[in-house]
Every structure is written in structure tokens, then in C-alpha cells.
Subunit: 224 residues, 2 copies
DNA sequence: TTTAGAATTTAGCCTTAGCTAAATTTTTAT
DNA sequence: ATAAAAATTTAGCTAAGGCTAAATTCTAAA
């Protein structure tokens, strides 16, 4: 038989999610210190947990060598991410939260266990492909749309793009973008790049704005 | 100052909710065995927890004498019940779950912490006063509508009523009612009562049904 | 009023999931 | 090649929240 359905704790789900994010595009070893930093706890606590995840066949772990998710671990991680992002859509689209207010709430909702709930929520929201930050929502099999998004800092003058997401999604940063009237879907034209401070001059709704290099490195565009 | 906002664990919230339900209409002492039975755990575990609730001024507890919620404890209990019932409305009204499928999911959702979320959810649902089982939803201050509902077993022949809720809300019972096409809002006429087995003969949509005494003792009507 | 039985609490143990401090392994610099 | 530094793991502690078994207190019947 395939594999019994297994009940994981909140902490286990959070570790799987974090490891998934740290592995990045190509699955690879993640070291315990990186996990500890991302989760704001201590490396020794991480060691403990990855050993347990390994016992449950959710990750492979070799002492001093780092950890990597198994197919099963990755399936669960994408399931949690799927729920997180669907709930974010719900909060913004239906309850009219701002995109910078939804993360903490979605962190809680993502752990609610009910396959039927997820299915119905997905349908209710119209099977969205992206969350309010522009991140793709995995489908029930863990597959997510591939976006060829590009950082504003990597775009060249005269290029046009639509804002499709952010790299850092801290509330501070999102609120800053809100004040500039930059949102998912905002049309942006790259006017010039200043090489001396890496700032980027853009045009939004006919208005010129200068963004710092740091901001440009955290804003994703889809070129048009 | 009034009282610092306090973070409670899921277990603490569940105890407060259970004690609230067991206290019933008039606040009164609840014994540990009753709590243990309701929560399906052991009396010794309950003793432990009620001592901690008492330390936090959420309940008053005297050894061997039972436990009772303080005003603060009651406020938190009604807050959890408010969330539970609002989420049940969401699941039935928006996601089209059946009334017998929502309890377990609402048990999880009721612990999500965000005052803003509750406010917005309440508005989104149109500030409902009752959940899908006919139970009143506490407002933000813990006050809930008083329903003068009556058990079908206490109604007399010739009386007419609308089904407004159930006492036992097990999935089995709710599914049984579904098969009889009895739901919240169903109009019921009491035709006769059989004293020898306490069964009740009723008329629904022109159809005669005989309900066992046990069913009649678990179905609430509002007389009309 | 005493006492058997029921209810309740206490004591001590377990698991999860965190921590610190110490030990160990790996990496890096000389 | 080796020693110092950095990374990682192990050992042992803590708190929450459950358990069982033993001790205690309450209650009800003789």
C-alpha cells in the first residue's frame, strides 16, 4: 500500500516548510544553523527535530552534513504552503485585509487539518494560481506555476513590467510599497539606473519614482 | 489598568470552553470528573489544569469542591465559542458544508488568534446571531441572544414549531435528521405523543413521521 | 456514628519541543 | 600538516499536558 496518512505536529510542519524554502529551486542539503536562524531558535533544537523527521522518513539526515527533504517530506511541505497561500487569498480577497497584514494569520490557518476544507476553499476562491504577494500556490499534488519573474534590480532601462511579487515580505516593506501605490499588478517602466548607488528610476502611472537599490533587489517584475 | 491581554494555550482554551458549557445557565461549581468525561481525559489531568487556571485567575477552585469560571475566564470562553460558531457559519454558508461536517474543523479554527480576523469574519457573514445548529453566537462582549427554545419532547399535541437546533450534535444524529429532511428552519407540527414509549408523531411538509423519545429529547423547537 | 465506597488529589512518570553548556567534528588559516 | 576557529551534536534541564497508581477526602448507608 502507498503510505498511511500521518498526523504531524505543528512544529514538525513548520520545520518541513522552512527546510523546503531553504532548499530553494534544486533540492539540496540545508545546514542546521540556517534552519535555526530562519526559525529563530537554537541549532541544538534543530538537530533534535531533524533527527525525528529523519526517523519518520520525511527527511534524510547525516550528522554534520545537513538535511534534505524526502519526497514525502516535500509533499507535506507544499501542502502546508498551499494552505498558507490559499488562506492569504481568502483574507485579502474576501475579508479585505491588506497584503502586509495576512502573514501571521495565515501562519496559524495553515495548520488546520482537513483535506475537504482545502478543496472547498480552493474552489470558493476560484482556484487561484498566485497569492497576494505574487507567490505561486501549489496544487493538490504540490506542483506550482513557474513564473519567469525578474528582480527590478536586474531589469534594464526602457523595459516595462508588472509587479508580480516581493522577495522580502516584511510588513514594513509592504507598507512602504503601499505608500508608493505599488501593488501586485502595478505597471512599472524602468527609466534609468544609477550605477553609483544602484538606485533605479521608474515610472508608475506617469509619475517618476526613485527606488533604492535595496528596494529594487526585493521587487519582482514580469516583463511585458 | 484593566487587564493585560494574555496568551493562552489551546489546552487552556479548551478547558475554559468545556467548563463554561458544563456550568450551564447559572454559573456554578463543576466537578473534575464531569470535565474529564466531557474532554475524554482523566480526572487527575483535570485537577492539574484547573489548578493552573486558578493561578491565572481564570477560575476559582477549592480542593474537592469543584471549579467555577471567573468573569475573565468566562470572557475568554465565550470568545472561543464566538469564533467556533462564526467559523461554522462560514463553513456552511460559504463553503457549503453540511451541518454535521463542520464541528471538527471549527474546533481547530476556534483557536486562531486575531481580533481583527474575528471582526472581519463577523461582518463578512452579516453578523449572524445563530450558528448552523441553532446555537446563539456571543457578541464581542460575550453576550448572546436568548432563545426560548423548547425540546420537542416537552411540546404538546397541536403545537407548531420551527426547528432551531439540537441538543446532541453528533454527526450520526445530524445525518439521521438530514435523511428525514429536518433542518434548521423546518416547520414541525406535533400531532400526538405516545406515552407508552415516549415517541412523538409529527407532521413535516404534510408527511407524518414518528420520532423516538430519544430523538424528541434532542430536538429544539421555537414555538409559533 | 462509623465505615465502605466513590470521588478527588498527589506523586511520579512520559513525550514534545524548547534551552544552555560541554563535547565533538569539520573547516580554515598558517 | 596541524592548530585554531567555527559548526554541529550530545547531555541534561525545563514546562506543558497527558498518563497510572497510590493516597486522601467526602458521602451515604447501615
Amino acid at each position: 500500500m502507498p503510505q498511511m496518512k500521518i498526523m504531524l505536529t505543528r512544529a514538525e510542519e513548520n520545520y518541513l516548510k522552512t527546510i523546503y524554502h531553504l532548499e530553494g529551486d534544486k533540492p539540496q542539503e540545508v545546514n542546521t544553523t540556517a534552519i535555526a536562524e530562519a526559525m529563530e531558535n537554537k541549532p541544538s533544537s534543530v538537530t533534535d527535530m531533524v533527527q525525528r523527521l529523519s526517523d519518520k522518513n520525511l527527511a534524510t539526515y547525516k550528522r554534520y552534513r545537513g538535511v534534505r527533504l524526502t519526497a514525502r517530506g516535500r509533499k507535506i511541505a507544499t501542502g502546508v504552503i498551499r494552505k498558507h497561500r490559499l488562506w492569504e487569498v481568502f483574507l485579502v480577497e474576501k475579508l479585505h485585509f491588506e497584503w502586509d497584514q495576512v502573514h501571521d494569520i495565515a501562519e496559524q490557518l495553515e495548520h488546520v487539518q482537513s483535506d475537504e476544507l482545502v478543496r472547498r476553499l480552493d474552489d470558493y476562491l476560484g482556484n487561484p494560481e498566485f497569492d497576494p504577494h505574487g507567490d505561486p500556490i501549489p496544487n493538490a499534488d504540490g506542483i506550482m506555476a513557474r513564473t519567469e519573474k525578474k528582480l527590478l534590480s536586474d531589469a534594464t532601462p526602457e523595459q516595462m513590467g508588472v509587479c508580480v511579487g516581493v522577495k522580502e515580505s516584511s510588513a514594513d516593506f509592504l507598507q512602504y510599497l503601499d505608500r508608493l501605490k505599488i501593488n501586485i499588478g502595478t505597471k512599472i517602466k524602468v527609466v534609468a539606473k544609477e550605477s553609483f548607488d544602484d538606485s533605479v528610476l521608474i515610472e508608475v502611472d506617469g509619475v517618476l519614482l526613485s527606488l533604492s537599490g535595496k528596494v529594487a533587489e526585493n521587487l519582482f517584475l514580469k516583463l511585458i
